[in-house]
Subunit: 351 residues, 4 copies
């Protein structure tokens, strides 16, 4: 089969032919119909500090996907050949305190698909049955079903605040920020203010329902407050990880408001805890991952009922063979979600 | 001034000329621009058992209104002549445990405007400054501003559940049920199923965003579950007070779901607490009134930002002199909210 | 091995010699060191309507226990021979919505140990690994470890309200009611008022920390309110299932208070929903079972740290051979928890 | 009357004779029976940067007190001569969003007694009726009643977490930290670990119920984790404001845990938001003040029912004339709460 992998400890990826993976006793083999590229994949491609520390090549990338089960291990209980599925990318231990109390996304023994084990930028991927999520093909086509994993991040982050009627700031309009705008719009938010540094993304923010956008290279908290008729914001989602945006989050939120931190800053940030947090009586939630499976159900419902439409955010679809162009496009900031279609590579190779 | 009042302890109301009310030290006098009729007013008109027990004629009716302050008592601190206002209808003691902990709507010493003291179906009404709510005329015209009081009931009821992605049942499509459909639609509900006994109301339910409606004279919980692809409902709002609907609420909700009881049954109801509640691990919230002022802020935001549009529910506007026809229309079930315009009566009397 | 079982569809139980159970692939075999009798066991013994509908003899009773694993099935992953364990009594499907979102106790495909499959009133019991809970022998002796299952009911029920400083009513002083008093006392409740019909239980209520007790055969809501200096109660736990107590719960709670329903009434109950619930703006939680495993962790912590001491509630310990006397004593109401020691039966048989 | 005041913009305080304050229309005059010294008073005495920025001498200090009303302004409605009272120290506007939605403690127009207007280190203090809290002399003597204000800070902070069975860290054993230990102990916490830099305070921590204490000059997060059998802590309250303790809070808390920030650091602090917050999925509440009046009710209940006993924390009582010694003692760290008795000064002056 064809696969996109990190072949060695250096920048870049390669398209290679590999044997179809063998399924373990507890695993299923999925023929990948769609897989989407995440910011994490860019880090691995670029081979930055984080990637050098975490990744052990060779490794097939990809943790967001949808496809069809074509084989099941002998101890698999419920999944069946022919099932149309996606997967939670975090493979967790199942027996620790967090796994057993609804917080599997905080399991300290997590393995991530496409990070610690071979992923889905390939014609086939083997995954444990325990992370399989059943899709309904009549409701979600593969290019949407693959987005459930990253969309779930936004669904989980947004579940940390009650938005009806409120003024909501969303700082950072990468895919999860843009997903969040769509959810906030569908959740009765009164006014949605978005910021980013790139015009392409601010355009998508408006398309997803932002009432107004701010160019973060030029403006910060003051602009947000002004757009809210001089009032500070009720809830601010920090989705960029940029230190300046973190500061803007704490400055623009009102006394007694709520800040949700999702974007991951590359280094420690200085915070004026007295003025920015305590005297404001803030509630802060730091959010990572998705609840397994509570978030997946809500994700599915929001998409299947058409409450949030993700199609405007799929800015490109291509075969595995175009991976290099896809990664470049994404790195340029002029794309949102790019969907890979491993079958195309297969078809071309066959032709 | 002209006013619609209950003149004596018998069915019916009368349009009479009365002196403009004198304002107390803590009160303001409001020139009423719009006032809307509530189900409570129908009870008083009809002079049913509840009304006979509660009402002491003579009494000017009306507790939902918007208008302009024309006079202020000498101890009034913040309200001013010219302010465009509405009012919380429940005048509470301000010093009991409930009043001092954000639950004023549960004050046991409450007096209600148009129930225990003269109300707003008149050219002028005197109200304590403590219940005055400031409106913004550029954002809410009087016929919408007067609806904040009853719409607030729905806003408060809906705040008792997290609706994003969920299947929501709304049983009873009187005004508060219909408001609730609008809010649920704006709150990301995945599927909204509504029931009522009257075709006119089911039509409005669809207009407000219900995905499907059920004729409660013919069908109950089974129909709701079938419309939800065989699954029980996540959250059910009982807004009718009909014993059959209360039963439907508990039958149609899923294990671990949530029932919100708002409709007031006329007599005790038999409940199978073991099967309908305990083995289902239900959370039940019984809801009445609105939080002062948390609900009012959210109400204002939802209306000012256009998140919920109430105009389709104003099925009639008329002068005080048409009150008899308005009450009949409302009693017939072929109306939703009717807005009275006291100024018209005044203008005609002047002409 | 010796076991206490329901041999045929009639009142009574029998002590019989049976083969040690065979362990399935996913199961472990536990040598039972302590097992405790629950009200459910009394229903099965008495062969009442519920038991006749639910139970298919022959069946070994018992779903509360502690013991040591002596054998593991070939697919068991984590449990090991020698582990000192108890078990969640509800064996659930693991794949339904409730199982996958932290509400396994509401799985509609639940099988209960000692109800749908052979239980722990025996020298050995076979249970699926999925319900095994690890105990620490240095912290919890078997007679306390077996109580984790029923104590968990109280822990879960009490987790539905914030008790610090509040006046708490606990209606019904069976084991779960008495556990609840202990937890409420340890949770900062300001005043704990308990009621029951039996003097023996009211004595234990005081021993567990009730500030005052009420004889429910003589007094109801008025007495509770009087004991609270004329104020209604903040939170009321209904743990008896008696219709009169359910009425007392709704009458004695304050406006804006909270009622938790745990006791299971034998038939439908009439409720004045308007006066008792809606005009009081009540929150009602109907509670059954325990959260798997969140409640178990909290249960373990409360017991291991000595926050709640259950020893006063173990009113009898005996061998399996004394089961008849134990069941009689429990049925008489002059006992709380009775712990069976299957080893004694074995020892005597061996002697 | 005698009063302790900041006479001019420099370090130190003075005991002076002043006229008894005149009561405004909305105010009451209270004869002070007990007043307690707060850390804020030390800042003002010492005339540090914060005090220089905030305080406008001359100013009578003191915002914690209990006493008897001896005079009422002509617009006072409920308070009466002879009432035994304390007061919320934050005098708020009453009409802003925060004041009207149960968050008066976040009103941006707050005036603090003894900071922006003359306080209670005097024989008499005038306060607005709106902040008066009624005490019951049969239940709370003046030296305890005066502590309701600072104890309320701990009650409010602790209300941000559910503690039953959990391991709780309390970093900083000043008065509010020590109050917190008492509340945590009464709230079912499984294990309470406290840290401070001073042996005197660590001794009081143990007396209030800490299971183990850590000398923060020598040890940090590792020691706390070790004392918790190698597990990270469930909830950590940072009550010191020391940057090292803030770091310890985030390091010692478990994944998915909760940090409450109450101590006010003097300058910005660097936080590793990625590792310390986001990858830990933390909830952080920054807390200041008390809810008016929800916290006061709970405070009263906890004290009146004897759930928390504050007497061990009153390490000194003296007359106003001993203020200099009292301030020194407090600054030395070898005291917890010091209660001033203005009547003694008066008695001596009279003698």
């Amino acid at each position: 089969m064809w696969a996109v992998r990190k072949g060695r400890a250096a920048a870049g990826l390669e398209l290679v032919e590999l044997p179809v993976p063998t399924v373990g006793d507890d695993e299923v083999l999925v023929r990948v119909e769609a897989a989407s590229i995440c910011g994490t994949d860019l880090h691995i491609h670029r081979w930055d500090e984080w990637a050098q520390r975490r990744i052990r090549p060779p490794l097939v990338l990809g943790h967001e996907f949808a496809g069809t089960i074509v084989e099941t291990g002998r101890l698999v209980r419920h999944a069946q050949e022919g099932d149309y599925v996606s997967a939670e990318s975090h493979i967790t231990c199942g027996v620790c305190f967090n796994c057993r109390t609804g917080r599997a996304h905080m399991c300290e023994r997590t393995q991530i698909l496409g990070v610690e084990r071979d992923g889905a930028f390939a014609e086939y991927v083997a995954v444990p049955e325990s992370v399989i999520w059943q899709n309904d093909r009549t409701k979600l086509p593969p290019e949407i079903a693959t987005l459930q994993e990253p969309f779930g991040n936004a669904v989980f982050a947004l579940a940390h605040a009650d938005l009806a009627g409120k003024t909501v700031g969303i700082l950072g309009c990468g895919p999860v920020g843009l997903f969040s705008i769509g959810i906030a719009r569908a959740s009765g938010a009164g006014r949605i203010l978005a910021s980013d540094t790139r015009p392409f993304r601010l355009g998508l923010a408006q398309r997803m329902g932002a009432d107004a956008v701010v160019d973060a290279t030029l403006e910060g908290a003051d602009a947000l407050v002004e757009l809210n008729e001089g009032e500070h914001l009720d809830v601010v989602f920090e989705m960029s990880g940029a230190p300046a945006a973190i500061e803007t989050a704490f400055e623009s939120v009102r006394h007694g408001g709520r800040v949700i931190l999702f974007g991951i800053p590359a280094r420690p940030v200085e915070l004026d805890i007295a003025e920015a947090l305590i005297f404001k009586n803030l509630d802060v939630s730091a959010v990572s991952g998705r609840q397994v499976w509570a978030t997946w159900y809500r994700t599915q419902w929001l998409l299947e009922h058409g409450i949030v439409d993700l199609r405007p955010l799929i800015t490109e679809e291509c075969g595995l063979e175009d991976f290099e162009r896809a990664f470049e496009l994404l790195a340029s900031g002029d794309a949102c979600k790019i969907v890979l279609r491993p079958e195309r590579a297969a078809a071309e190779a066959a032709a």
